[in-house]
């Protein structure tokens, strides 16, 4: 069985700065993998290459067995919209929209009509402990609440792969763990594959396994083949 998402010998440089120097990572369907490593080691760049946000300078990225690094911008953008979900360190909610509209956004972008999209979005609020906050705007939510809204937005369209870059980085440890519990519960329930970037071991411990990025390369933990 081919991995759900895979990087093979991926290199990427920002101008003169090499960020990835031959990174390999294969994540199986339904697996939750934590990508760890020091600041500047290339974790976010790897995530962006896997998610089709950046195109590698060399190497291959495969999604469900098919190369995506060779796709043009429009195709990659469609792939991100239809198959991937995203959560970043700072929720990045659209401030003009209500919380429910923010959650519904990925569905609306996929062409789901407004009424069913909002209904699906509202379904998340109870479960995330946000009942009654559907109409608030992001400025009226605490950091932890906004991050839970962002998590719902990342999962609402039932993506095949969820990419999360430091999703708890801006939260205190208890709130961060609540968000992780929700994330992992939801992913396990739907069989969602998760690539989770974090430098915090306690957050990485929610994953099925971890890999370490150092100097633009991926090391599997000792004794485990990557």
């Amino acid at each position: 069985m081919s991995p759900m998402i895979e990087a093979r010998d991926v290199t990427y440089a920002f101008g003169e700065t090499p960020a990835l120097r031959g990174a390999n990572l294969a994540v199986a369907a339904g697996e939750v993998v934590a990508v760890m490593g020091p600041s500047g080691s290339g974790k976010s760049t790897l995530l962006h290459c896997l998610a089709g946000i950046l195109r590698p300078d060399s190497g291959e990225v495969r999604f469900d067995g098919t190369r995506i690094d060779t796709l043009g911008e429009a195709d990659r953008s469609a792939l991100r919209r239809d198959s991937f979900g995203f959560v970043f360190q700072f929720g990045q909610l659209v401030p003009e929209l209500t919380a429910a509209e923010n959650v519904a956004l990925p569905l609306l972008l996929r062409g789901v009509r407004r009424t069913p999209a909002l209904r699906a979005a509202r379904g998340w609020f109870e479960r995330l402990g946000l009942a009654g906050m559907e109409h608030r705007r992001s400025g009226e939510l605490s950091g932890g609440q906004a991050q839970r809204v962002a998590l719902a937005r990342g999962l609402v369209a039932e993506p095949r792969v969820l990419f999360a870059d430091e999703p708890t980085g801006a939260l205190d440890s208890l709130t961060g763990e609540e968000v992780m519990t929700l994330l992992v519960d939801a992913a396990r329930e739907k069989g969602t594959t998760v690539v989770l970037v974090t430098h915090e071991a306690r957050i990485a411990a929610y994953a099925d396994r971890e890999v370490m990025v150092r100097d633009g390369r991926v090391n599997a933990p000792a004794g485990v083949a990557s």
């Binding site: 306690r202 990485a204 411990a205 929610y206 994953a207 933990p221």
Partner: protein, 174 residues
């Protein structure tokens, strides 16, 4: 050891039979290692000998379980003292890891690989504890958290040591 002090502490709630003490000890502090009855009664008789508990009433019948134990002022003072005194902050694992790393460097062995192996082992244990948290009672969650924060502290030490290995190698080799 903490068993006598823990039993004393449990007795401070209310006078109890040995059976009740064992049950509560096992529930809250046993962590899968139940306290043998023999140890409960030998501990209680030592506490009685030292004047920290007395035997209250004795129910009719035979066997040690007829006795109900009551904490004395001496016993209560000891519990109070123990609870208010901070625990010795002992960074035991760090010193063990430190010894291994320094020796590895002295012997020109791959200290970095040792640290990687240790990191993987720590993370494996942290995943187990996290799984306990996800399914356990609040008491288990709190205990797992205690373990997790300690392991996390070790991991931070492993990270910074890994980043300083070259300098450390210079420092420990002639």
């Amino acid at each position: 050891m903490t068993v006598p002090l823990t039993l004393l502490g449990l007795l401070e709630r209310e006078p109890s039979h040995g059976y009740d003490l064992k049950r509560d000890y096992d529930t809250f502090f046993g962590r899968g290692k139940p306290l043998p009855y023999g140890q409960v009664y030998s501990t209680l008789s030592r506490l009685a000998r030292d004047g920290k508990v007395v035997v209250g009433d004795v129910a009719p019948g035979a066997g040690p379980d007829r006795k109900r134990y009551v904490i004395t002022d001496v016993g209560a003072t000891e519990v109070e003292h123990w609870l208010t005194e901070p625990v010795e902050p002992e960074p035991h694992l760090q010193t063990l890891l430190f010894t291994k790393v320094v020796l590895a460097l002295m012997l020109d062995r791959p200290a970095e690989e040792y640290l990687d192996t240790q990191r993987a082992a720590h993370l494996r244990r942290m995943r187990e504890l996290t799984e306990i948290k996800r399914s356990g009672e609040l008491v288990d969650v709190m205990l797992a958290d205690h373990g997790l924060y300690h392991l996390e502290a070790d991991l931070r030490w492993i990270e910074t040591t890994g980043a300083r290995l070259d300098a450390l190698r210079e420092a420990v080799r002639p």
